[in-house]
Amino acid sequence: MGYKTIIEDDIDILVAGAGLGGTGAAFEARYWGKDKKIVIAEKANIDRSGAVAQGLYAINCYMGTRFGENNPEDHVRYARIDLMGMVREDLAFDMARHVDSAVHQFEEWGLPIMRNSKTGAYLREGRWQIMIHGESYKPIVAEAAKNSADKVFNRVCVTHLLMDDAKENRVAGAVGFNVRTGNYHVFKSKTVVCGAGGASNIFKPRSVGEGAGRVWYAPWSSGSAYGLMIEAGAKMTQMENRIVLARFKDGYGPVGAYFLHLKTYTQNCNGEEYESKWFPALQEMVGKEYLDPEASHATHRPIPTCLRNHAIINEVNAGRGPIHMVTMEAFQDPHLEEIGWHNFLGMTVGQAVLWAATDVDPKYENPELTTSEPYVMGSHATGCGAWCSGPEDVSPDEYFWGYNRMTTIEGLFGAGDAVGGTPHAFSSGSFTEGRLAAKAACKYIDDGKAEGIRVSDAQISRRKEEIYKPMETYTVGRNEIVAGSVNPNYINPRQGLDRLQKLMDEYCGGFGVNYMTNDKLLSIGLKKMAILGEDLDKVAAEDIHELLRAWELKHRFLTSESVFQHTMFRKETRWPGYYYRGDAMKVDDENWHVLTVSRRDPKTGEYTMEKAPLYHLVGDIEDKDLAKLKAEGHH
């Protein structure tokens, strides 16, 4: 191939993927590493890349300690109950105690944060969410990262991490290719902060045809955070914990501001409240510890997101769909109506387009809601990601190995979707994790941990050959056929993606099977995955753009395989409404009050699974209302 090899050497901190997590890392790294070489590699343009490319209308993780609102431990308790107990509470506490300092800086940089005109505090949408005019959230934050970085490589898709040839299990940089020039890029670096994203489009989406891009999480979220780290042999955690979202039908418009700020609510097709009637049976499945509507009613304790999905799924299956969001009351107030529309324009323009196209005026009609296909990510109400070290002053021994947010690969750090067990980080928390990772990475280098790294030419040329193989496959196979996309020797990336999505949907609990799976289905699915893996060695790319899609597909595949393995390992239904294990339909705290941890052997591709202990923050400062209820015999 005629593509040049471009080597960037002597990097101290390489940021692979610069969404909110990666920009946080690049920004902060400069403070702790004045003389360090900081480089960003991003497959798009960092001004509009990652999940926040489109903008946001809310920052969903903000404590508000300056206004006397919440403490970090309040956030931990909230995330814990929402995730049915399965949270790395050391990481969550750490993120929560720092997150406000990120938000206060965003405001100084020019991000418009709305204020409560009476109190002067930030305008709250709910207990944790503040409202912003965030159309330019990403370009503003990107500016801060650009100011800190020595170099920004836009349009470079990172495909693999480089590993140290001198020392086992130590990172040495990354490689990828420029999606415009096609050139091969080698980044030799002492540390890598993986800021790549979670995964949309691995389960078959509800949309079909042209609409396949209309997904909840961005279509460019290709699971590269997981693909890169799994391939390198990093331990992963909670990969079974995929998320299903209840959203406005087809457009996937967000519902947070509608529920919390506009006070809209849901009902079934007959105009009835439906949620509570599913709770008694659901309580049998999950236990009163996780579902206590009375306690939730009396306190700030939420009903877990998955359990609210469960009620929707069951009500629809009972024949009383669709579920409607009752907007007709709130939208009579012109101010609230405007907020309802701004909310979409700020972060999901597609929903506004859909309502305009279908003449749905929420002032006169209650729009439909539905549950989405599952997504695999780690910063919303779900905590997939790498098994990372926590901070020294918080983490127990099992959670601490020297450097905050470092994965089990030396010198490889994570932020945002990349870090496992930290749900509810959202944009601000992901940025914060990037900052924490960057500081730790600088310390790792200053402690001399990155001395003597060696990257062989053999590794560099092996990866180069591997990266361009889909183009070679195309060139060789294409001439065997007259024309078209049907070829006996290869599949194109779209065909591979369709196959992956169908497989994940049918065997791993997608919407098409009402989120149901079991041991037998998972076993069959894994067999089919192995064969798909073989076929992906024969994925073909006609041009550089298709090569991008081919590597995104490979990252999605590695992510999916991990989801399969974890789902098979956890023999319980921990999150009804996200997915069901038909052969183990209850929460089983006796055996599964643990975090699941996996490692894929980079040489053999074999998985090993283990249980990791689950630690909880406990202390005197409990939610007072909840303490009172507990005293009265509630959980």
């Binding site: 902060e28 400069r30 403070y31 702790w32 798009a44 343009n45 001004d47 509009r48 890349s49 489109q54 300690t65 300056r66 431990e73 750490d94 105690r97 720092h98 406000d100 300092s101 405001e107 940089w109 020019g110 005019h133 159309e135 330019s136 503003i140 500016e143 801060a144 999606v179 949309s207 045809g209 042209e210 609409g211 891009g213 209309r214 997904v215 961005a218 510890e289 324009l345 323009v349 597609g350 387009v353 859909l354 305009a356 196209a357 003449d359 005026d361 002053d393 918080v394 983490s395 900052r435 310390k443 753009h545 009050h593 689950l614 630690y615 909880h616 923050l617 406990v618 005197d620 400062i621």
Partner: protein, 160 residues
């Protein structure tokens, strides 16, 4: 609602190509104008629509569920710090104009260069603090919370 490009307005400047997060806005080699090469990977994020200096890019709702005849147009202005939207319904009954701020500061001028900040002391390096902390956590003199300061323990087991 994938994007499309009006033939008479596009001059092939490539701003959309430069910004598209999904790498789907490309220049047609014959016509030397931009077009969406992969509509089913379009998130309708409007990044290209906003970036186009000629308003040559528009969006038509996804064919699998959105009827024809609607319009959502936008004008983003970094100098004024605003974004202006116009939404028109298919049936013509609703025609809304909405305006929102995108920044409160002159564009790009208030974003710090950390290289210019004085270097952190060793005591700060060895603490859990980040840049601008502890001050920016609560915008006052309070210290960064720890387990101890907040009366907490971290314990293995089930406690509900």
């Amino acid at each position: 609602m994938p994007t499309f490009v009006y033939m008479t307005r596009c001059d092939g400047c490539g701003q959309c190509v430069d910004i598209c997060p999904s790498d789907i806005m490309h220049i047609d080699k014959t016509l030397r104008r931009a077009y969406n090469i992969e509509p089913n990977m379009c998130w309708e994020c409007y990044s290209c629509v906003k970036a186009c200096p000629h308003h040559a890019i528009d969006v038509r709702g996804y064919a699998d569920f959105a009827p024809l005849g609607h319009s959502v147009r936008v004008h983003r202005d970094e100098e004024k710090g605003t974004i202006a939207w116009r939404i028109k319904f298919r049936n013509g009954k609703k025609d809304m104009e909405l305006l929102a701020p995108i920044t409160t500061k002159p564009w790009g001028e208030c974003i710090p260069h950390l290289a210019n900040e004085s270097a952190p002391a060793d005591s700060m390096r060895n603490s859990e603090l980040l840049f601008n902390e502890p001050k920016y956590v609560a915008m006052n003199d309070s210290a960064l919370p720890t387990l101890e300061s907040n009366g907490l323990e971290i314990k293995e087991g089930v406690y509900y």
